[in-house]
Amino acid sequence: MSEKKNLPEPARHGINFAFREKLDAMAEGFRHNYCYQCGACVADCPAGLYSKTFNPRLIMLKAILGFEDELIGPDTEIWNCTNCYTCSERCPQDVRPVDVIIAMKNLCVKEGKAPDLVTTVSDTVFEAGITTKVTSLAERRRQELGLGPIKQYPVEDLKKITRRD
């Protein structure tokens, strides 16, 4: 292990090009291949400004080199992306880093390595049709404001067009 310390970063970790294929198979995941590591995405990234560890350029580099363990898991850096799309505005290569990060999140879910919150929120949509619980208080407020009642959400339709495991 000790002599490995002197090696450059990729060699220490071992490059894993198989990860690239996995990511390419997810919607928008192939875009990480366009990244030439210019770093234009970094300076205005709010998650980067407010944390010591979040860095969209490094996330793209780790994807290219296949540092899978640092990306795919319930508490990796990718879950701190604010989804603000500022990086997508700055990127000269149309990598759309947020979309690549979302592809990695999809991969986490596929491999059963996503944080619980992801399934909690989407399960609510499958069960109720929306993300927010309809309460009698909400109904009363709507009435007071002169708004119509909340209609039944077509949950059966959602079941027919999505896979529920």
Binding site: C84, S88, R96, T132, R141, I161, T162
Partner: protein, 291 residues
């Protein structure tokens, strides 16, 4: 002109007074809102999209296809719904293969995405279809002297490739809309910062919200003005929660733009739900008692 409103989960259930404010103000401007039955969650651009992007496209395409049947453009009033419906609408219009695959998934319920309508945030419709001058004419009680710290949030503007609303680095649309309500838009160093809600590590949004609120305080704005219910959550209730944690009081009222416009159009603060906020705000809009 006729439009199909898409209020989404937050406005329908959590903040119905925002829906009331939107319906009242847009009605005064002259929009004819034609409601469509059968919409579900847009679905949520953060967690639902993180779960499975293809299913995110599918559920959004189902919503869009319902609106296509009626034929009017969809207007959104939540930045999350704007993000999802705008992006899916454009992605399926641009990518024939993707559209084919999603339509295959919609077959069991007999629906098809055709790509015949547009998705637009309500503020864009005010500016582009009616014009700021026309909207200004609906203002009967200008909010003179009210200083509003504008907060754009992310998904009205970005990704600009999809949204096509304003320059994401130098936007003016909210400032202009605050101005026509008779109030004064206030800018600070962090006006364009995100609310951080999507981050898993709370420390990041906590710091962002703290710094934004402090920047607003330093500029002596009377309130914060925004157009996204998630940002509202983060700054209204979030401000109280954060204040308890940090043992400090920010006391910055937060207002959804259509509430502001509503009061300027002569509606009472209660009619647009200004009495419902966690951080007290209605005092800003109630005439001072005569001494």
């Amino acid at each position: 002109m006729k439009y199909t409103p898409f209020f989404g989960c937050m406005l329908t259930v959590k903040y119905p007074w925002f829906e009331a404010a939107v319906r009242k103000t847009l009605g005064k401007v002259g929009l004819d809102l034609v409601d469509v039955d059968g919409f579900t969650c847009c679905p949520d651009p953060i967690y639902f999209q993180a779960r499975d992007k293809m299913e995110w496209y599918t559920v959004a395409a189902r919503n869009l296809s319902l609106a296509e049947d009626v034929g009017h453009d969809v207007i959104t009033t939540c930045s999350g719904c704007t993000a999802t419906l705008s992006e899916v609408n454009l992605a399926l219009k641009e990518d024939e293969a993707l559209k084919k695959e999603i339509n295959e998934r919609l077959k069991p319920i007999g629906r098809q995405f055709k790509g015949t309508i547009n998705v637009r945030h309500a503020v864009t419709v005010l500016r582009d279809d009616y014009g700021l001058d026309h909207v200004a004419k609906t203002v009967t009680r200008p909010l003179e002297g009210l200083k509003v710290a504008v907060h754009y949030g992310c998904h009205l503007l970005k990704p600009s490739r999809v949204m096509r609303v304003d320059d994401p680095d130098r936007p003016t649309i909210l400032d202009d809309l605050v101005r026509i309500a008779g109030a004064e838009p206030i800018r600070h160093d962090l006006t364009l910062l995100c609310c951080g809600r999507a981050c898993m590590n709370d420390a990041i949004p906590n710091q962002m919200v703290t710094e934004i609120l402090e920047a607003i305080k330093a500029k002596q704005a009377d309130c914060m003005g925004l157009i996204c219910p998630t940002c509202f959550d983060e700054f209204d209730l979030g401000q109280i929660v954060l204040g308890r944690k940090l043992k400090k009081t920010f006391d910055i009222p937060v207002v959804y733009y259509f509430q502001l416009l509503g009061v300027a159009q002569g509606f009472s603060p209660e009619e647009v739900g200004l009495n419902m906020h966690k951080v007290k705000v209605d005092h800003l809009f109630t005439p001072a008692p005569v001494r």
